[in-house]
């Protein structure tokens, strides 16, 4: 990441470019980024897809409100006792006990957003804080924190959560979210740390230190605003990995039995032996997981282009 984006054009003249900024600067900066983002085809596709999934999540309350037989978890159609194909009554058919697949699909979108965003928020919180502290404090603190990060980074998250669910029984969805977050911060911490390292000796930080600001104040008032865009970028990637891990966990049968996620739907179709007979049941959840992953990934890549002025220049030249 070049310095250009993170500070005003002449950082030497303004004592603290980010912290003392008026709010309209943030709006301006956002609009500036948005105008670049808008030109990015991949980013536009990604955002459109995300919008569609958000609509699905919002619409997930409608089916059970129309008729309780459409409830994704408890709604059983009294006329149907086995998996049936798409019909007017059930747009995507029903599962093995007559629950509506379409309403399950909508509910899955809600769970995916919930899991992905909350888990990403927590891991970004951890990663950013730890990265800033490690980069700012340096020396032994840095060494210990980064070794810890290295250690967690080599651990396969899915298998770790598996072992934990073996020991502690069925995990609640929020415990799963927290577990994923606790194992996914190291990558963020590494990036934020290197960004902090490049900020640490910049004049505005030294000015703050000389004028008596405490370490905490420097970290959270002066460094944080400058690493924020990078943290946001990494959030999109963490959302994807959280959604995938939760889905894989549910697929293996270790999800929260009280939620209907897309991974859970795939587990039902697999475990009840319907995968060869019921493509209307096998295809939708898998397509949704893959598409939402792709949508977040595309959004992230487009944001990366916005944050990297070097690429932006090339783009305008080409």
């Amino acid at each position: 990441m070049s310095e250009k984006f993170f500070s005003s054009p002449t950082p030497e003249n303004t004592p603290c470019p980010a912290a003392n900024r008026h709010r309209s600067h943030w709006v301006e900066r956002f609009l500036d980024g948005w105008s670049v983002y808008r030109k990015n085809t991949i980013g536009r596709i990604g955002l459109t897809l995300l919008g569609l999934f958000a609509l699905m999540a919002a619409a997930s309350f409608i089916p059970q409100w129309v008729n309780p037989i459409y409830h994704p978890m408890t709604g059983v159609d009294p006329l149907i006792s086995h998996s049936t194909g798409p019909s007017l009554r059930h747009w995507l058919g029903t599962d093995y006990i007559g629950r509506d697949i379409f309403s399950q699909l909508l509910a899955g979108a809600r769970v995916a957003f919930m899991v992905g965003i909350s888990s990403a928020l927590v891991s970004i919180l951890f990663g950013t804080t730890i990265g800033m502290v490690a980069g700012y404090a340096g020396r032994r603190t840095d060494l210990v924190l980064m070794r810890l990060a290295d250690m967690i980074m080599v651990m396969p998250t899915l298998l770790v959560v598996l072992i934990l669910s073996a020991l502690f029984g069925q995990l609640n969805i929020w415990v799963i979210v927290l577990m994923i977050a606790l194992f996914r911060w190291p990558g963020v911490a590494r990036v934020i740390r290197s960004q902090t390292l490049s900020l640490r000796h910049r004049p505005f930080i030294e000015a703050a230190r000389v004028s008596g600001a405490s370490h905490l104040r420097i970290i959270f008032r002066h460094i944080l605003p400058n690493v924020m865009p990078l943290a946001l970028l990494y959030m999109t990637f963490r959302v994807t990995s959280a959604i995938i891990i939760e889905a894989a966990l549910a697929f293996l049968g270790f999800g929260d039995p009280g939620t209907v996620s897309w991974g859970m739907m795939l587990q039902w179709v697999w475990k009840t032996g319907h995968m060869f007979q019921a493509p209307y049941w096998l295809l939708p959840p898998g397509i949704c997981i893959s598409l939402i992953t792709m949508a977040f990934y595309m959004t992230g890549r487009a944001m990366d282009d916005v944050l990297d002025p070097r690429l932006r220049k090339e783009e305008t030249q080409a």
Partner: protein
């Protein structure tokens, strides 16, 4: 020699990390609700057998002594007896280890090679239709949900077209047959391996392709490529012998970084295809509350990931003469 010292230092680091992981696992097994003894000794054992097992594992001792016993037993490979199989855990896992390594290494090497090869072409034809196609294809494959792709592969290639067996690693009739030579047996395993391998390659090659493409684009701007052009070398030589080897280095790094991801994927693939490997054994043992097996399988997988990381690092040092440790 710098490399030897580097490997030694990394081995020490791996030992430390492994020690920490073991300790955390030990603590977790004692923190979890329920009786810790019932987690290592099969409740259905006869009292005499159970007492004998408890003595060898030190489970009748205070926690600190238990910890020392645990370390000693782990070092000597005595990790208890599986509830489900009734056999020593180490036997079962040593049986599974080669299968996992076979699938894991073949899939990583092949997907990295494919990624490098296609990424090279995509970068060379930057902006042309083939580049766009490859980039979109890579992005698409990279974001597919692995277990679902595995199910689709089985549905299509094994059930619908019927080219490959649906599950397993060997066909029993081939292995019972005394006339079957090594070649036939190897072909049988390959036949079973094709689908899981294809699934893993499809999932993994995309990210390597994208890394290779952007790294190759950077490399092509370097001065020595200009020099090669000025010398009048033909385009293919420049692409394959000057640009590609240097551009491939970040792919090696990316292989190292995605190892944990690959082993996750390996476990999922093994489970869906019932490939008798470590990952499937871990999933199986967790769903059957077979604690000794789950613990040992997890530790063994951790060792595999750590050592694979070391191999990638050494490979990197070997490939890049500028890096000397």
């Amino acid at each position: 020699m710098g490399l030897k010292r580097f490997i030694f230092r990394r081995l020490v680091e791996i030992a430390v990390i492994f020690f920490v992981i073991m300790t955390i696992l030990f603590v977790l097994f004692r923190l979890a609700p329920g009786d810790p003894v019932s987690r290592m000794v099969d409740p259905s054992m006869t009292p005499e057998d159970a007492r004998l097992l408890m003595e060898t594992m030190g489970l009748d001792q205070p926690v600190w002594t238990q910890y020392l016993y645990y370390l000693k037993n782990a070092a000597t490979g005595n990790m208890g007896i599986s509830f489900h199989y009734g056999e020593p855990v180490s036997h079962i896992l040593m049986n599974r280890l080669p299968n996992t390594i076979l699938l894991f290494t073949t899939s990583i090497i092949l997907s990295a090679l494919l990624g490098v090869f296609l990424g090279k072409i995509a970068a060379w034809k930057q902006g042309e239709r083939i580049d766009t196609l490859m980039t979109i294809g890579a992005l698409f494959c990279h974001t597919l949900f692995l277990p679902w792709l595995a199910l689709i592969m089985i549905w299509f290639f094994a059930y619908w077209v019927g080219w490959f067996p649906i599950t397993g690693m060997v066909s029993p009739e081939v292995w019972i047959d005394p006339d079957a030579g090594f070649l036939i047996k190897a072909l049988d395993v390959l036949h079973h391996m094709a689908l899981p391998l294809m699934t893993l390659i499809l999932i993994h090659f995309g990210s390597y392709l994208l890394v290779m493409r952007s790294s190759m684009l950077e490399t092509l701007k370097d001065d020595y490529i200009l020099t090669a052009r000025a010398k009048g070398l033909d385009e293919k030589t420049i692409r394959d012998h000057h640009a590609a080897p240097n551009a491939a280095l970040p792919v090696v790094t990316s292989v190292g970084l995605s190892l944990a991801f690959s082993i996750n994927g390996g476990a999922l693939t093994e489970t869906v295809f019932t490939w008798p490997g470590l990952g499937r054994e871990l999933v199986f043992s967790v769903s059957h509350a077979d604690y000794p097996l789950a613990q040992a399988a997890f530790l063994l997988i951790a060792i595999v990931v750590l050592l694979a990381n070391l191999v990638v690092d050494v490979l990197y040092a070997y490939l890049d003469p500028r890096i000397r440790y």
